[in-house]
Every structure is written in C-alpha cells, then in structure tokens.
Amino acid sequence: MSLTKKQLYFLIIAGILLPVLCVVHLFSGQISIEFQDFSNSLFHYNNQDTNQIIVRELRIPRMLMAVIAGGGLSLAGLLMQTLFNNPLAGPFVLGINSGSSLFVAFSIMTGIPFLSSDFGIISSALIGAFSFGVLIMFFSLFVRSHVSLLLIGLMLGSFTGAIVFILQAASSSEELKSFTMWAMGSLQNTELSQLPIISSLFILGIIGSILLIKPLNTLTIGEEEAKLLGTNYKTIRLVIIVITALFTGLVTAFCGPIAFVGLAVPNLVRIIFKTQNHFVLIFASVFIGGAFILICDILIQILESSIHIPINAFTSLVGAPFVVLIVLKRLA
C-alpha cells in the first residue's frame, strides 16, 4: 500500500513526540529532581541517594509502563478492529480485558500463594485474555453484524463482572484490598526488576504485528476478499488473537484494566493518517497510544496534589466521549 510524504512526516513527528513526552513524564511528579540525579541514577547509581532511588525505582518503571500500556493496548485494538473488520472493536469492548480480570480475581482470591504471586497473576491474565479472545472469535463465526459482536463482548464483561463481585463478597479483606488496588489500574505497581521481561514481551508483540502487515492489509477488505488474495485466514486469525492476548494480558496484569485506549487510539490514528496501510497504522498506534497514556499520566501527576485519579478512570473520561464522537460521525 502507498505511503505518502505527508504520512511519513506525521509518522516521524509522532516518533519524535513519544520520546519527548517520555522525558517530560520523567521530570513531572511531586518531587522535583535535577537532571544530574537522572544521569547519576542511570550511570553512577548510588542506592543511598533518595532522588536517585525515586528515579530508578519509581519514575523509570512508571514511564515505561505508560508507553507499554498505551502502545500495547492501541496495537491490540488495531489488530482486533482489522480482524473483525469493525472500527468499534477493541480489547475492552470485546471483553478480552474482562477475561484477564476474571482469571486474576480467581488467582488472587483463591488464597493459594503460588497463584497470587507475580508470576501467577501474569500467567492468569495472559491465559484469561487468550481464552476470552478465542471465545469472542468463536462467537464472531455466528454473528455477521458489527453491533452484535460488541454486544456479546459487553455481555461477557457484565457476566464476568458479576462473578468477580461474588468472588469479592466471599474473599478476605486482605485479598479484597489487593484485588481492588489492582482493578483501579495503576502504572506504579511495576518494579524495575520486572521491566526486562515486560519490555521483551512488548517488543515481541510489535515484531509479530510487523510480520503481519501484508495479511492485515488484505483483511481491510474483509475475510472473504482476503482469502481470494491467498491470505491464510485461519492461521492469521489465530496469530492475531495470540498477539492481542499477549498485549492485553500483559498490560492488564501489571496496570489493571484500562478502558477505551485500544478502541479510541487506532480510530484517532486512521483519522489523522487517512490510510489502511498497516505499516503506518501499527507504528502510529504504538507512538500515539504511548503518547496518550503519557499525557494522561502527566496530567494525573499535576492534579495529584488536589485529587487522585486512577489511570483507568482518566482514560475512560477522555476515551468514552471520543468513542461517542466516532459513532456520531459514522452515523452522519
């Protein structure tokens, strides 16, 4: 597919915007930290210096998680939208998040130490996302209308929500607190030592998506047309579900359920770039998705002195009205 000069410039701008916002994000926060402390914390780390500890243990993980959450969920949303040929699809509305939530709730509230460990929570979130991805794919075989699939996704969400409520009612106050903290969504729950594995999985997902550019481009004109062009639909569909589950499970495990980013950002990207070329859409979704969560989190930190807003609440506040706008535009 074609790539115009204008699209390339926009892509470069988005690619520059992301690291700039990363730096702004690192310097935002209650305590002001000198540039010297930043470079020291990276190159001459002194584990007695409070500022350096803040940079290394808090700010860098939080900044990277913002990029990974925004980029990962946006890319997952893009893949879902292309697979189901439905611009209103996304990991949250299709209930992929709720799969993670359900499995995480189970593993935290069963009280079994292995399951409520980091590893246990991450694996449950990934398995939950994947099984709900397969479930929604199964339903997609029977429903032809865009809206029906979204309704099924929302029903999946309500259904698992009810089960989670029952689990909460039956669990101890300690487990309840742990789950509620997780469900509020936060970019601060990640430790420096967990970042290598999270970043590797994130990059793996991006590489996987890049390898799918050609089949994704054929899928923009629908499943049947893609098959006529020689696309191996069943294999591609499975790979897309795996990558989507990887991103959604990863982000949900560490940051809790974050709504609307996966739905809103790919639509914003298509409005800006006006293309179906997935080379552009994939990179732009990662850049703009990462930038979006960074901006949200910078604003959260600015407002923090007067009010504490969880990241999940913030993305919904911004994302939900945007989605309504998209729907109105499509109806018009």
Binding site: S2, I221, G230, N232
Partner: protein, 236 residues
C-alpha cells in the same frame, strides 16, 4: 480450462445445479444466466472452492480445485463479488494494488512490474480519474469498475464476476461486456460473468451458460445464441 465432471452444486443437502460433463475454454467469455435463486452465485463460489461440491469434481487446468493451495488458487482464479467492502480511508490505488498480494513478498512490497500491471488495469478500465479517491466516496458503478480492475491486477487465467454490471449505466454495461470479451480473447483467459440483462448479453455475441429451471441442469449455448432458446431454457 475448467472442467465439470458429474458435478452437483448446492447448499447442504439441497442440490441446485447438476452438470454431467462440461468444458469451458480459455480465450472465451461466458455469460451465466438463470432465474433468481437458481444458483448462479453458488456455481461461481464452487469454482473458487468457497462452496464445497455435493458430488463430482471441478478441474481447473486439469487439476482438482480442492487440491489447490490457497496461494496457487489466488494466482489462478480471481473473483469479483457483487458486494463491495465498506472500508474507511482505503484509496482506490491501494485497493487495486491489493490484487498483487498473491505475488508480492512477505512485506507486500510492489515491484516495478507490479506497478506496471496495476497501471495497465487502471488504463484498461479507464478509471485513472478515480486514483487518489477513497473507495467510500465512489458510486456503486465506480466501485464495480474498481473491483474489476483489482481482479485484472490479480493476473489470473480465470476471472469470475458475480453480476458485475448491476449498477452500471447502459453505455458502461455494453462497453464492459465488449471489454471482457476482448480481454478473454487477447490474453487467453476464461471469463465467466453472471447477468440478469439478457438483451445486452445477447448483443455481446458470446457463449452462454444457462441454468435450466426445470431440470436443474447447466447448459452451454455456443454463440450465436438465440433469445427464444435461452428464454425457454432458463426462464420458462
């Protein structure tokens, strides 16, 4: 080019068309006619393997259609469906270029040859003025021309078209029939199109495939076909 041997086509357990033996040649345009619901689309879908046969076989270039790999099939048969994808922000050029997908590398990069073929199909259908437009902004008739350009770009020896002229105006309809006939002759392709426009199709002076409404058989009527014979066979 295409051979049917004791083929029965239909949905689940209700047969729609049976063909004892029929061979369709390269270099010919065939117009498929039949009543509504007689199985025209089902027949076309069976040739590309979207619809499994109830019995018998369909051979393409001597090889059973079910033994084709997906990639081989996409280089042998192209299909212009009667519906057009509802996709936002898809440029006409990009849509037509997708026809080269069976030939491009894993990243979908277009070679100079690919670009030549794309430009040729755009020239052939005289739709250069649509380049750069979004497919969502086209009229139904323009979409049909663009879909046909994509099928030509796919460069297959067989082209199937499901009512490609339904939304075209009179001059475009007759022009398209003549064009497809010429393409079939010049590039030695086998082209089958289904149509409801009998008079116009007769003017094209090509062979007909008529689905007999009472016996459910598919008949080949070689050119020049007579209107009364076709009417008797397919619409009595």
């Amino acid at each position: 080019m295409i051979e049917f041997k004791k083929t029965v086509i239909g949905h689940k357990k209700s047969p729609l068309i049976s063909i004892d033996f029929l061979e369709l040649k390269a270099g010919e345009l065939y117009i498929l006619i039949g009543k509504n619901g007689s199985g025209k689309s089902t027949l076309l879908n069976s040739i590309i393997g979207f619809n499994s046969l109830l019995s018998g076989e369909v051979l393409v270039e001597g090889k059973n259609i079910t033994s084709f790999s997906k990639s081989e099939l996409s280089k042998t048969v192209s299909f212009v469906r009667s519906t057009f994808p509802q996709t936002d922000y898809l440029k006409v050029d990009d849509f037509i270029a997708l026809g080269r997908s069976p030939y491009t590398n894993a990243l979908g990069r277009l070679s100079l040859l690919d670009k030549d073929i794309i430009n040729n199909s755009i020239q052939t259908l005289k739709i250069a003025h649509l380049k750069g437009k979004f497919t969502s902004d086209l009229s139904d008739g323009e979409r049909q021309l663009v879909s046909i350009a994509k099928a030509l770009t796919q460069d297959t020896s067989i082209i199937l078209l499901d009512e490609p002229t339904a939304f075209l105006d009179y001059s475009n309809k007759s022009h398209l029939h003549q064009l497809l006939k010429r393409i079939a002759h010049e590039t030695n392709k086998c082209i089958i199109l289904s149509s409801h426009d009998l008079d116009l199709s007769l003017d094209t002076n090509c062979s007909f495939l008529a689905i007999n409404n009472s016996t459910k058989e598919l008949h080949l009527v070689e050119a020049p076909a007579e209107k009364s014979a076709l009417l008797n066979m397919a619409f009595s």
